[in-house]
């Protein structure tokens, strides 16, 4: 698991759990549920798969038998159509439908959690995610390409889009929900296990659709509160040497960094960039080298990205910028 190369402070145990999980089936699996919705749906899946396998074996066995057997009476064959073709599927389908419809309201109980709980607004853009946390006590934190959420608490997400349709999906936590221009969709998630889970954009959104992902980090509630409080303040490293280069090269036209005069909104907020696990919306591990590569030629890493290449800057400037960004925790 390269992306978790250096887990941020406070989630070491979670990071380790995630590493072992990744060893078996990746951290993006709907079958390794770490959320309430994902667990219910995985159970539904296993029930249906078992039933489906039985039905399939039955049909194929009948087919083989029918191909080989001597002829049966037409009346018997007609009865088979009635029972096998109409009655059996009807019964199965009604049963399954009842199961699924009973499940549905409990999975996404909108409204109940919204009043008091934490709300996270995620806005899709080509090809990254803006994330804004609004906690019940009025704290607002802006971030990008990573969401953190407290384990055991229901979190309401409101999902929107800036340009084209995207879809928000963290398979280990729950199902997906589209982000549609002009609309705000809601999703409700409850993580049950601490860990880091990857989520891809699930609606085709253009050239680099495949390169748009995010990390969801589920933290124990206290750790989450500490983290959110830290994020609400500017990074301690903000005044260091890179800040001046950031200003001079005009990065602030698109990016915002709390504690500096950079207030751009076109690109991701970089206030606590160093604390993120990945770079370029879940594509590369967040290392100084990778940051340098991205600044110099973003289109090479992510075709069609809006950020222009800054390869013409002095190498030294890029290096300083990258290491400064990496330290913005």
């Amino acid at each position: 698991m390269a992306v978790a190369a250096r887990p941020p402070p406070g989630i070491q145990p979670a990071g380790l759990a995630c590493l072992t999980l990744a060893g078996c089936s990746g951290n993006q699996s709907a079958l390794d549920a770490a959320g309430q919705e994902a667990a219910s749906i995985a159970q539904l899946f296993w029930v249906m798969t078992t039933g489906g396998a039985i039905v399939w074996l039955l049909v194929v066995a009948l087919l083989l038998y029918a191909a080989r057997s001597r002829s049966h009476s037409e009346a018997a064959a007609s009865r088979l159509i009635l029972w096998g073709g109409a009655v059996l599927p009807s019964a199965v389908v009604v049963g399954l439908l009842a199961y699924a419809l009973w499940l549905m309201p409990a999975l996404r109980p909108f409204g109940a959690a919204a009043a008091s709980g934490l709300r996270i607004e995620v806005t899709g853009s080509q090809y990254w995610w803006r994330v804004v946390y609004r906690s019940p006590d009025g704290v607002t934190v802006t971030s990008a390409n990573e969401i953190r959420l407290p384990v055991g608490q229901r979190v309401e997400l409101s999902l929107a889009s800036n340009d084209v349709i995207h879809s928000f999906w963290i398979p280990s936590l729950g199902g997906k929900m589209d982000m549609i221009p002009g609309r705000t969709n809601r999703l409700s998630l409850q993580a049950t296990k601490p860990g880091t889970y990857r989520g891809p954009c699930a609606e085709y959104c253009g050239t680099s659709h495949a390169l748009m992902a995010l990390q969801a980090v589920a933290l124990p509630p206290e750790a989450f509160d500490r983290w959110l409080a830290a994020q609400a303040k500017p990074s301690p490293a903000v005044a260091a040497s890179g800040a001046e280069l950031f200003r001079r090269h005009g990065c602030g036209a698109c990016h915002a960094i709390a504690g500096t005069e950079a207030k751009g909104v076109l690109g991701p907020d970089l206030s606590h960039f160093g604390s993120r696990l990945t770079l370029a919306a879940g594509i590369l591990p967040n290392t100084t080298d990778n940051i340098e590569r991205f600044i110099a030629d973003p289109d090479r890493i992510k075709p069609g990205v809006k950020m222009p290449a800054f390869g013409m800057l002095p190498r030294e400037d890029i290096r300083v910028l990258a290491s400064w960004l990496r330290r913005l925790e």
Partner: protein, 832 residues
């Protein structure tokens, strides 16, 4: 083929009448056998092209972080793969099979509109080459076959590829609707005498249902294409949320088309199975009524499922529950159809040949796709599976098991009808096992990849997600599958030993298509009377009677291509239908119409206008010379002392039916636009956003004037029936003038109120509805002028009044659309 001299003379005459031209003129033939084969060959070629694209994609995905092809090329490839497989293979291959098989199967000489069939083929070919060719100029559509706005409406993000998709496919959709009209009228009106509707071969039942579905499914997409292209060309904001539009409207229109489309593809394949299984069980199908009802049920249900493609768009949970239930319900008729085959096999003794191998193998695959379909139809599971590789697996299990395997089965089964030769049983078995194993190796792991979080339409994936070996296995399987398909192609193309003659009905089948002789063009030597569902089994003298010319229309003394028209339910002969023969006008019409669409794509307005005029001229020439030809006599003897009229008009004529069916499709497209109007109405508190409307006065005046134009048309029709030529002509003229005045009034509403269609969706949809009606009025005026010209040329009389009757029918539809439009745009802003 020996016989009396008289019989030989008959055969000579028939052969001469139905003969195909030679040399380059061969391509002007319109005979159903030729057109069917060209159609099928072209569809197959497009399938291979799309298959190669799939192989390139599988090579790219074989390894994580692969850079074999660029992101952009990959996106073009998957867009074209889906588009071509759906629009250029899956639907057209059945139109091809239907055009090829239906006439002999129904005991007809030809379908009622052979030139329309040829026109459809040429349109399809041109449109298909245009769409496919774009990838060689790096200009192919890359927004996915579903073309969701705003990605696909944004000029910068989608480029000219989106226009090629929209206009190229609109052109092909025209061909599909033409084929649907041809198939519906052919099945309803051109069956052999005695073939009552409950004796019809199951293939005909299925094709009738499918053609009906095309008629209601394609028009919403055409309406959607129209909205889409208006946004791309003129910035009318139908899908732009910032100006009151909504990207979800496209999703609704697309899937109202897209879901029935799945069954439009699947049902004809089941129809092939319904022909193959009884033959190899050597007994009639068990549960004929069961399977017909199940097919009809599937057809109806398929229009109520589209929202299950939109379960993750944030619709209310009550909608999700409703559409989950409807989607589950379709499992029941599908189950019935599968069990009808099992029951037939049980009740007979099965001969297990290559067609059966492909057929039953296809069922085994399809059932898995059906079961995963039951899974994804449940909204909660779909939240996880939607747009993941699980769905990729599901849809390929459905389409390859439910469509491609049966088509290959059909190819092995029907090949003797094409060539009087068999395909190789040994190669067939090799091909089957390669395809069956390759398919499962390729697609089964995709279920797991999807559940492990692999989204669709990704050109690459990182290695740490654990999908690498699953993808490698899939890629290997894809190449094994392709190898199997190559064996099939080799089998078809390899030179075969020509043994003398070739036997008729080599599988000892029971249905009528097997009386057709591959080396003759006349379809059937003479038209038999049918008294059973499996005439070749149950009417022992039928084969000889047909071959010895003891059926109807055994001769062609007038040198005309003739078939019988029979009544819809009981198939009693009512008319001799003279169909169009070899003609280049179909190609000219298709090429000029194609030029209109191509020129529009590149926004060459002048070329568009010239091509449109040329196309109109070609069609008018075609109509003038080829339709409603006044026969030399009123009746003729078709054999057995039966005298039948050579002409019919009004609802007794096939032309009237074709017009009616076309206009039903047209009205469906119109209904889709009205749906759009009210869709905007419901999603906004104030749909007009404070913009001025067209007022009430002009729309109501326009509606009244259209009423006048319609009434004048009806009066003209009545006057014509009394042979009162002068007042009839005057009425037609008045009607045309009223239609022009009505159009002016219609345009005056939005014009005078300064409605700017680019500013907001409300003026845009009002303008669109008005222009829709005005365009229809323009066509109506052309029809009036055509009737006037026919009258002055002495080709319109009380007896031969088909042109006028069809115009009147057309005007009924115009009136309905005009009145609805002006009531909606004139009254509804006020009422709201």
């Amino acid at each position: 083929m020996s016989g009396t001299p008289e019989r030989q003379a008959q055969e000579e005459r028939l052969r001469a009448v139905w003969q195909n031209p030679t040399g380059w003129r061969y391509w002007t033939s319109v005979n159903n056998t030729q057109v069917g084969l060209w159609y099928g060959g072209a569809a197959f070629a497009f399938m291979l092209f799309a298959g190669v694209l799939a192989l390139i994609m599988r090579a790219q995905l074989a390894f994580p972080d692969n850079d074999l092809i660029s992101a952009d090329l990959y996106n073009q490839a998957f867009t074209l793969h889906g588009t071509v497989m759906m629009f250029l293979f899956a639907v057209p291959i059945f139109e091809a099979i239907a055009i090829f098989l239906l006439p002999p199967m129904l005991g007809a000489r030809e379908l009622p509109f052979p030139r329309l069939g040829a026109f459809g083929f040429w349109s399809f070919l041109l449109g298909g080459v245009f769409v496919c060719g774009s990838i060689f100029f790096n200009a192919a559509p890359s927004s996915g076959w579903f073309m969701y706005p705003p990605l696909a409406t944004d000029e910068e993000l989608s480029g000219i590829g989106a226009d090629i998709w929209l206009l190229g496919l609109s052109f092909i959709e025209v061909a599909s609707i033409a084929a649907a009209v041809e198939i519906i009228v052919g099945i309803m009106k051109c069956r052999a005498p005695g073939m009552r509707i409950n004796l019809m071969p199951l293939f005909a039942w299925y094709l009738l249902i499918v053609a009906g579905m095309i008629l209601f499914a394609f028009p919403p997409l055409i309406a959607g294409d129209l909205l889409f292209e208006l946004q791309r060309m003129f910035d009318w904001p139908f899908f732009d949320a910032a100006r009151g539009g909504d990207p979800l409207l496209w999703q609704h229109l697309f899937w109202i088309f897209g879901h029935p489309e799945v069954y439009i593809i699947f049902l004809p394949a089941i129809a092939l199975m319904a022909m193959i299984v009884p033959t190899f069980a050597q007994r009639p199908i068990v549960g004929y009524s069961w399977i017909v009802l199940a097919a009809v049920g599937t057809g109806f249900l398929s229009f109520g499922l589209w929202v299950h493609h939109m379960f993750t768009t944030g619709l209310p949970q009550i909608s999700l529950a409703f559409f989950s239930a409807a989607s589950e319900a379709v499992a029941i008729p599908t189950g019935v159809q599968i069990f009808v085959f099992i029951a037939t096999m049980l009740a007979g003794r099965v001969i297990f040949s290559t067609p059966m191998l492909f057929g039953t193998g296809g069922i085994a695959i399809f059932v898995i796709g059906g079961l995963t379909g039951v899974m994804v139809a449940l909204a909660p599971f779909d939240w996880q599976a939607h747009d993941s590789y699980f769905v990729v697996a599901h849809l390929h299990y459905v389409l390859i098991g439910g469509m491609l395997f049966p088509v290959i089965a059909g190819l092995y089964y029907y090949y003797p009808l094409i060539d009087a030769q068999h395909l190789s049983d040994r190669l067939g078995r090799i091909a089957f096992w390669l395809m069956f194993v390759g398919f499962n190796v390729a697609f089964f792991p995709m279920h797991l990849a999807g559940l492990r979080g692999m989204p669709r339409r990704v050109f690459t994936y990182p290695s740490e997600t654990g999908w690498d070996w699953l993808n490698l296995i899939s890629s290997i399987g894809a190449y094994i599958f392709a190898a199997g398909l190559l064996v099939v192609i080799f089998d078809v193309l390899r030179p075969k030993h020509r043994h003398t003659g070739g036997e008729l009905n080599p599988w000892n089948a029971g249905t009528l298509e097997w009386i057709s002789e591959p080396k003759e063009n006349w379809g059937v030597r003479s038209i038999p009377r049918i008294t059973s569902r499996y005439p070749l089994w149950e009417q022992p003298t039928l084969l000889r009677d047909v071959a010895e010319g003891r059926g109807y229309l055994a001769d062609a003394p007038e040198g005309q291509r003739e078939g019988l028209v029979t009544s819809v339910l009981d198939a009693e002969p009512v008319q001799v239908l003279r169909v169009g023969g070899t003609s280049g006008v179909t190609i000219v019409s298709a090429v000029t119409l194609g030029a209109v669409f191509v020129a529009l794509t590149f926004k060459w307005w002048l070329v568009t206008a010239v091509a449109a005029i040329a196309s109109l001229c070609a069609v008018l020439y075609w109509l003038w010379t080829g339709t409603n030809v006044i026969p030399e006599a009123e009746e003729k003897d078709v054999g057995h002392g039966l005298m039948l009229p050579l002409h019919a008009s009004g609802s007794a004529s096939v032309g009237w039916w074709a017009m009616f069916i076309t206009m039903v499709g047209d009205a469906t497209a119109f209904a889709s636009l009205i749906f759009g109007y009210f869709f905007y109405w419901t999603i906004h508190a104030d749909f007009t956003a404070g913009q001025a409307g067209p007022g009430m006065a002009w729309p109501l005046i326009a509606a009244a004037l259209f009423g006048g134009a319609w009434a004048a048309t009806l009066i003209a029709r009545t006057l014509n029936a009394g042979e009162r030529k002068a007042p009839m002509r005057a009425c037609l003229g008045v009607s045309a003038l009223l239609a022009l005045a009505a159009s002016a009034a219609a345009l005056a509403g939005p014009w005078q109120h300064g409605m700017d269609p680019a500013s907001h969706v409300y003026p845009a949809i009002v303008w669109l509805l008005v222009l829709w009606v005005v365009a229809h009025a323009a066509v109506g005026v052309v029809m009036h002028l055509y009737c006037l010209a026919r009258s002055f040329a002495g080709r319109l009389s009380a007896l031969y009044d088909m042109d006028l009757r069809n115009s009147a029918l057309y005007w009924h539809f115009v009136l309905i659309q005009a009145v609805l439009t002006f009531l909606v745009i004139g009254l509804f802003p006020e009422a709201g």
